[in-house]
Amino acid sequence: MSDPVEDGNGFGLGEQDAARFADVLARYPTRRSALMPTLWLIQDRDGHLSDAAVTWTAAQLELSEAKVREVISFYSMYRDRPQARHVLQVCHNISCHIMGAQPLLAHLEGKLGIRRGEATPDGEFALEGVECLGACGMGPCLQLGKHLYEHLTPERADALVDGLRRSDPPRPDTDRDLED
């Protein structure tokens, strides 16, 4: 099946994402206002925003590449290069700090054999210190993808890393036992 939306450089969205993109364009009042959701759509699929993605997005939304890159570089969650498979983002802000963010970071550094800001050579894990994640009363905490792990202890941190290595991570604390 041909890509419904593809540029000359081989970048394109699959059918499903193209439909999502069309939906975003329909709901946002201007093309430019569709920028953030469009970047999310691509990053959710690719894991990062490649040069080709920037060129494609700029053309689609009728912006210069500089304006697209301004936005990507301003927000901490957009990534312009490939990321490790599991990016562990430990909150190091004040509440988590009081509750043990530094020892948690140190523990994970030891467990993963890397320092914060680095990734494991096999590209499986990256460890980052990040600003407040909004789990202050449940600290220390870390973010992994869409979810948070809270009330972390050395055992829980180990269980998370080990679980991820086995592709069987423990259930995140924000994935609550709510009725679906």
Partner: protein, 528 residues
């Protein structure tokens, strides 16, 4: 009008006037600032133009405040001074103090304002500064030093709002924020050097001008760009007979604060290797240098009572006064008025845009119709030359190089060339008269709006070259005319009297924004 008291002086301003502009008027000098620019949107980010407005709890930035009736403003209070000093210090925290090797030194906002408000010891250790990239060539004409940038965002706003090309961005945030282009992209719009002009510090510099001259050695002469029919107001920066750069001069009625990059290159031909420095006469088949008396003698021998001029052509890059005088001279030399024409159109055509660049690259074409000159297309023009007999007088143009059919048309004819460079037409001539290039003389240009603007002499003529109008007037006198103008002011009066469009206009006294004659503004143009 609203009444505003600034530093104890009560003044009146039109409602809606920016407090920044009001303060400039009241103080006789602008408030300290980096980001404010009258031709860009208000960013309000440098925070330097803080003033005290009575009744407001905090200091407020003047650039984003409109004057209000009864407003009482203090711009020199201790509170204001202290804020400006502190904010200036913030600007310097991460700014390298490399003024001795900075091309902006001497025209740097940071230096200037430091002299006014600073004189303190910086309390940031050099080792603590945030370091960023230096000397990045970001486009064909512009070099960026990210460390020197104070993030005023003027250049970004220029590319977003004026050219709407958006090449520049401020990437990252906080003190990691930096100006740049997207990877693999360039700042390559047709107006890129304006970003250098509006950069208040040495972050953006001109690849062409960099390190050629310390700016305090330069002298500036206000003039008009000769690059196209727009007639952007410029400043010619020169020293010791050499022009180093052109900068736009603000004229809201013509060019705002901008000019195009192509126009900036128009200083180069001034110093071309083939500039004519002395009269040339053809002897033994070759052009050889001659004295002025020899040149006059040669002219008298080629054109006169017994040998009427066949055809005369003048380029629309000569001034209004020159074209008028030349037309008169050509008639006196026997060329019928119909046989005096504007230069070949092909030489003056280019791509235009909807901003400043006119497709008509001739700076003074509007003068032609005012003076009743025709502009036949190149081939027609050549045909008309062929239809005449006698010498062909070419002034300021190089049709042999630029126009179709001219090579053949002038073959075997006597060509007299008046100009500044030794081009193909000069090579085909019997007599070549060296005249002044645009920056070497005073004169008036009529732009595409019908606006008369004054171009001024910045540098001296090379060698034995003559001032154009003087040469034309002398030749006119030599034909027996007794009332040829003896000064430029007189010449201008003489021109105004002969051009209906200029009825009642004193060409010697033009307002700063130039003058659109009433007859032109009313839509009659210069047509007779």
């Amino acid at each position: 009008m609203v009444k505003v008291t600034i530093d104890g002086r009560e003044l009146e301003f039109a409602a809606g006037t920016s407090l920044f502009d009001a303060c400039r008027e009241a103080r006789g000098e602008a408030l300290p600032h980096f980001c404010y620019h009258p031709d860009l949107s208000v960013a309000g980010v440098c925070r330097l133009c803080q003033v005290e407005v009575e009744g407001m709890p905090k200091l407020t930035i003047a650039c984003n405040t409109a004057v209000r009736e009864g407003m009482v403003v203090h711009t020199r209070s201790e509170k204001v001074r202290r804020a400006a000093q502190q904010i200036l210090e913030m600007h310097l925290i991460n700014h390298p103090v490399d003024c001795p090797i900075c091309d902006q030194a001497g025209e740097c906002g940071l230096q200037d304002q430091y002299m006014t408000y600073g004189l303190y010891e910086s309390e940031v250790g050099m080792s603590d500064k945030v370091h960023k990239a230096k000397v990045q060539v970001i486009g064909p004409r512009v070099v960026l030093d990210k460390e020197r940038c104070v993030l005023c965002s003027r250049c970004v706003r220029f590319c977003d709002e004026v050219t709407r090309t958006g090449e520049l961005g401020i990437f990252n945030r906080g003190d990691r924020a930096e100006i740049g282009v997207a990877p693999g992209r360039q700042l390559d719009n047709a107006y890129s050097l304006n970003t250098v002009d509006i950069c208040p510090v040495g972050a953006l510099t001109s690849l062409d001008f960099r390190f050629k001259k310390r700016v305090w050695l330069l002298k500036s002469t206000p003039s008009i760009c000769h690059g196209c029919a727009t007639g952007c107001n410029v400043r010619v920066d020169h020293e010791a007979g050499t022009v180093y750069r052109l900068k736009p001069r603000r004229n809201p009625a013509v060019n705002g604060a901008w000019m195009c990059d192509e126009g900036r290159d128009t200083y180069r031909p001034l110093h071309a290797a083939d500039r004519l420095r002395e009269p040339l006469l053809r002897r033994d088949g070759a052009l050889r240098a001659a004295t002025w008396p020899e040149a006059w003698e040669a002219l008298a021998g080629l054109v006169g009572r017994d040998a009427p001029l066949g055809f005369a052509v003048v380029a629309p890059r000569q001034t209004l006064e020159e074209i008028a005088l030349f037309t008169h001279l050509a008639a006196a030399l026997g060329a019928a008025p119909a046989a005096v024409s504007g230069g070949p159109r092909e030489a003056d055509r280019g791509e235009g845009d909807d901003l400043l660049v006119s497709a008509d690259r001739a700076p003074n074409r509007a003068s032609l119709s005012w003076l009743g000159l025709e502009e036949p297309a190149g081939a027609d023009l050549a045909a008309r030359v062929r239809a005449t007999r006698g010498a062909v007088l070419v002034y300021g143009a190089d049709p042999v190089a630029d126009a179709p059919g001219w090579c053949e048309a002038v073959a075997g004819r006597t060509v007299i060339h008046l100009g500044t460079r030794r081009g193909a037409t000069a090579e085909a001539a019997e007599v070549v008269i060296p005249l002044s290039a645009w920056a070497e003389k005073d004169g008036l240009l009529v732009n595409r709006q019908g606006r008369v603007q004054a171009s001024r002499r910045a540098i001296v003529r090379p060698g034995l070259a003559q001032e154009d109008w003087r040469f034309l007037a002398d030749w006119l006198t030599a034909t027996g005319e007794t009332d040829a103008p003896v000064s430029l002011p007189e010449l201008r009066g003489w021109v105004a009297a002969r051009v209906p469009a200029l009825a009642g206009v004193d060409l010697n006294v033009l307002p700063p924004e130039g003058l659109v004659p009433d007859a032109v503004a009313a839509g009659h143009g210069g047509e007779r």
